[in-house]
Subunit: 467 residues, 2 copies
């Protein structure tokens, strides 16, 4: 490799984590070297890179070169690498691999990742690969793939480390050593009886600190935090975060250990939930795949329901306007301020809703805090409304004279206050009736604030101007 | 303790993580037992509970009882417990503690947590506590507290485990054993020279798997991922997530190891960033404390800027309406559909913006994907617009006759398409000019869609109705 190859000075920069130009350059250079037959240069380069970064290059490589580059890595690294690729790339590469090679790769993969890959394969590809696996692997695959989406079972892995209660610390260390290559983590070990009932959990740290004569059974945690395989995956993520766990044991209905959810995987589940909350905040329904890979039909379906529902909700605003047609006809200049007033109520309301939805989601605010926060919100909304009334009354005098300015300023204060209170209360109401507070979305709050805004504005205008 | 004490059957339920009624009951029971002098019942109960749960009870206890309950725990658990309390509760309890007791507690606390607590104390309290600490602790405190908010230095901890390159695996295990009580983690160890320059990183797992004759220097990772102490804290969170690290080493400008950021702490930083993104999505500026503890002034300041700015933005919508006063005066029934049409454009736009902002934040979508996604968005928006046009033209016929229905239906398709395209493009434009895509908030998109909606609707109406 020449000294000035882009490969020699590349390093991922977290500040611009999208430094794609450089990733593309590296991919081009890898392709060039592969086509020149200089496999060893590529191998040397890849050996010094992190797998997460290599995944970035592989995604950029041409069909054929991606597989050629992957094959320059040791099997164990290939097995880890494939988990970093996007699901669609994973499947694409897997279907191009000879059956035997894919079977070897899947054997080396962590159990949850290979079950995820397996689930994506076509029925024919699944049928083709199964005979190349051992019986234990086939059963493990079938079992992990059998859990419904969104359950803990669908995100857990079955390659955990186990110990017996009668082991000494030295024996326990030896047992973990022998499982270290296979197990997803050895920093937490699970103590089970003959029929896989979970007896306790032990951290490697506690094994290190144990006295030589103690036994695993003496120092293990006999009442570990656990989760059921059929619980919602979000529950596992919450438990891992709340108790700062390295991994969470998963039990079936018979109290048998069937898997663990590692902190990494819990983090991924949590990220999915956060994405769902972001989407709910803009009235987007659940999307099962990634947004980037979702089809038109999937995105249409996720978006249309609330859009149409809100159309009908906005009829009330229209009806409000229609009810005041006479006032409007007499003072057409009122219309100038209509968008501004109703938007302000909606914006203040969206702010309040977002603050509460997120604070409720993180546990910063609890439903019982409602009373305490309501008073604060009223004061903040009044301060916001007054400031905006001052801003808008200047425009009011300029566009419509002092009478209109007064109407607009008074309306602004009331509309901002009403919007903010709707936005603040809605998430708590949803929590109270056991709905997700995140459904108190900006558009929903805005629609409600709009109706109130129209009625407030024209009622005040009719009272002050028509008399 | 009686068999029917609420203490005997309490267990945290992740599904209703806000089962506060029960937490309050437990707190009441603890208070009763403390007042009756039955400390040992409380101690027994607490011994079986997780610290994260105990923190919940302590928050609920009356002043005085909280400290009394805490003191029933071993010092090491107290030191961990206090980190689970809200900052305001931490400080409140710390200021009520005798100086010596607080010094002992702070000595036992993890270094980052105690620096955070120290920073919160009043100047007098800080002065009072310092002489009760050892010189090394004082220096550590001052150093950790010296980093600016939002830097990696402000979230790192200095209680990490170190090894020498010449150690054998057995010696390394022994060294970690002796540091296990003090260090934040022993699952990743740092190899430094005499002057604390970082030579490499080694996972405990690799020590377990090493051959007896190998040395730490042979098997350590000599080019570990690291971060600078003065980098933004978000950078550390990104690196930990990207490379699935247990802890990330932090170097100063001289390449000396000054701390580590653990996965737990990186997760907390990430949560803060996500909260900031949620807030930005509703035009809320940065809030340095938690929302629940923020003052009226802080929240007012975070909210007012964009609200006023958007008021002026909405003047354009008002001006659009004013420009069509004649058309409106001639067809007042057009006003009925105005809120519905402009809201629909805003809602569709907010959906598109949220989908892109979040996908860009998670890396699911990259700026270079813009072209590929634009075509898809046009098709989705057309499908959404057509569906909504059908829904709204039914109302159009009923309220205003076929001509109005046609105007409204055609406007709906164009407005939804325009709103969706604004919402989709804005995050990419922001990314292009190196601004945070999250600033492409719902309210901003809605305001822009409103202007376009008003102009589109009345232009079409004027063209079709006035001729």
């Amino acid at each position: 490799m020449t000294k000035h190859s882009p490969l020699s000075d590349y390093r991922f920069d977290p500040e611009t984590s999208t430094d794609q130009a450089h990733v593309a350059l590296v991919a081009l250079e890898i392709e060039r070297l592969l086509h020149e037959g200089d496999q060893s240069a590529v191998r040397d380069f890849l050996a010094g890179q992190e797998l997460a970064d290599i995944a970035g290059y592989v995604e950029e490589l041409n069909v054929g070169d991606d597989l050629a580059a992957m094959r320059l890595l040791p099997l164990h690294d290939q097995a880890e690498l494939i988990a970093y690729l996007r699901p669609s790339s994973q499947m694409e590469i897997a279907t191009r691999m000879p059956r035997r090679e894919l079977a070897a790769l899947m054997t080396a993969m962590s159990h949850d990742e290979r079950a995820d890959l397996f689930k994506q394969l076509s029925d024919e590809a699944q049928e083709a690969i199964l005979p190349a696996l051992t019986k234990a692997e086939r059963e493990d695959l079938r079992r992990l793939a059998s859990y419904a989406e969104w359950t803990v079972g669908s995100v857990m892995t079955s390659d955990y480390a186990t110990l017996s209660p009668d082991m000494t610390p030295t024996q326990a260390l030896e047992a973990l050593r022998s499982q270290a290559l296979e197990a997803e983590t050895v920093y937490t070990a699970y103590i089970v009886d003959q029929s896989r009932h979970l007896l306790g959990v032990l951290e490697l740290r506690d094994i290190l600190m144990a006295r030589p004569r103690q036994h695993v059974g003496d120092i293990m945690d006999r009442e570990p935090i656990f989760v059921r395989a059929d619980a919602e995956q979000e529950e596992a993520a919450k438990l891992v975060a709340r108790y700062d766990l390295i991994a969470l044991p998963v039990l079936d209905g018979n109290d048998q250990l069937v898997g663990i959810v590692t902190a990494d995987d819990a983090m991924d589940v949590h990220e999915e939930e956060v994405t769902e909350d972001f989407h709910k905040g803009s009235t987007i329904g659940p999307i099962e795949t990634s947004v980037s890979e979702a089809t038109i039909a999937v995105l249409y379906k996720a978006r249309i329901f609330w859009l149409v529902l809100l159309v009908f909700g906005n009829i009330f605003s229209g009806a409000g306007i229609a009810a005041f047609e006479e006032t409007i006809a007499a003072h057409l200049s009122l219309l100038f301020f209509l968008p501004l007033l109703i938007a302000s109520g909606g914006n203040a309301g969206a702010q309040s809703a977002t603050l509460m939805v997120r604070a409720l989601a993180t546990g910063d605010v609890r439903p019982s805090d409602f009373g305490r926060l309501l008073g604060r919100e009223v004061l903040i909304a009044l301060a916001l409304g007054l400031t905006m009334a001052v801003a808008v009354s200047a425009i009011g005098v300029w566009r419509g004279g002092p009478a209109i300015a007064l109407v607009v300023a008074v309306s602004m204060i009331i509309i901002v206050l009403a919007g903010a209170l709707i936005g603040m209360c809605l998430p708590f109401i949803f929590a109270k009736i056991n709905r997700d507070p995140a459904a108190a979305s900006g558009p929903l709050v805005t629609s409600m604030a709009d109706v109130l805004g129209v009625l407030t504005y024209f009622t005040i205008a009719a009272a002050l101007l028509d008399v």
